[in-house]
Amino acid sequence: MTEPMESNEDILISRIIDGHARADDLRQLSTLALADSSVWDRLAEADADREALCLAVESEIAVAQGVAAPMRDTEAPAGPYRFVGWTGWMGWAAAAAVVFAWTVSSRGPVSNGTALPGAGIQNVSLTADDALAQYIKASKAEDRFIKELPKVMVESHLAADGRSTEVTYLRQFVEKATVNDLYELSTDEHGRPGAVRVNSPIGTQSVLY
């Protein structure tokens, strides 16, 4: 294909959909439309395509929200440092979650005896942020909270008000707990699900997830 020469109509439409049109550009396009009203159809189609391309590109580059700048070498562990995105540890984190969830459900909450602020109170009026801040504070007091990972945006689109952007994101915490028994979900010879103790030394073992 040879490189096309842009027509005056192409230039005017491109300016309009890009928001750079001057009054004279609009007048010129209106004049063209007097002779050929399908100019308006082409303008509408070009604008719809511009919007569709934005949607597709934004969908692709949304992963950028989850990519953080790594620490500088002087502040990072020796050797090549690579930021580990959520996809990198999702597998073992999920496995750990299964094990840990089972353990908790069979043993009850793991605690060193420190009372959680507000524990047992049902009708406390807190915002979600306040409640989370309290949780993190209590989790730190229990030496359980390690850090919060960077948020990972999974989707964004124009909000209902037509101006702002509504984002859906993953929010993840790294925590640790000390448990006495580890179980994993497995199946017996008949394919029935059940809990199987993980073959590890009996006693205290740390599980991170």
Binding site: M1, T2, I11, D49, L53, V57, G85, T87
Partner: protein, 211 residues
């Protein structure tokens, strides 16, 4: 209106002597957050089709942090980052891999499940626009890079024509001309595809010279 990130941060040289060597980790983080979306778009414009954008973006982030001290003028960071992004994209041909894409999964699930948080009609409309957008992006991938890159950069929400010109180190008028031609070329490409059976759809547009 010129917001380029959901976490807008000031740096870009302001408040510094123009040198990049004295930036703190916090400033580097902010710098990266400010630029990472359009850097992703540059990678998207240059990477092999089956490369993983997230991996390449992480590589660029790493190179930026490691090499920032070599950048004499922080105000020139856009062309500098673009060069890193293009070089990283080109090197991706040696380590291609296919990975499941979270975004695609989420979108597909949304499309299939219909309407949690929105009407079925709105979801279908969005899915149709996204499908059209992906087709346009496919067509854009067949354009010569000189046309493809400004088109994809311009599709980054909040990125103005002026900012695209800064990244590409080109006059705004040249960017405008390339955008007009790029739009015309992908429109004609799709019209040609629609005119022939799917099995016979052709490959890339021949490498025409830039404006």
């Amino acid at each position: 209106m010129e917001r380029m990130d959901s976490n807008p941060t000031p740096p870009d040289g302001s408040g510094t002597d123009g040198s990049s060597s004295g930036l703190s980790q916090t400033e580097i983080d902010a710098l990266w957050r400010e630029h990472r979306r359009w850097v992703a778009a540059v990678i998207l414009a240059h990477m092999p089709r089956d490369a993983d954008l997230e991996d390449l973006l992480q590589d660029v982030a790493l190179l930026m942090v490691r090499s920032l001290h070599t950048l004499n003028d922080i105000n020139a960071i856009r062309p500098w980052l673009r060069t890193i992004a293009i070089n990283t994209s080109r090197s991706a041909g040696r380590k291609r891999k296919v990975r499941m894409r979270l975004m695609r999964e989420v979108e597909d699930m949304d499309t299939m499940s219909g309407a949690e948080g929105g009407s079925i009609a709105a979801e279908r409309d969005r899915a149709a626009r996204l499908a059209r957008g992906r087709r346009l992006m496919e067509a854009a991938q067949t354009l010569p890079p000189a046309y493809r890159e400004p088109l994809i950069l311009r599709a980054v929400r909040g990125m103005s024509q002026k900012q695209v010109a800064e990244v590409l180190d080109l006059p705004e008028t040249t960017v405008e001309t390339r955008l007009v031609r790029a739009r015309r070329m992908i429109r004609e490409q799709i019209q040609r595809e629609d005119a022939i059976p799917e099995t016979r759809r052709a490959g890339p547009i021949s490498q025409a010279g830039p404006a």
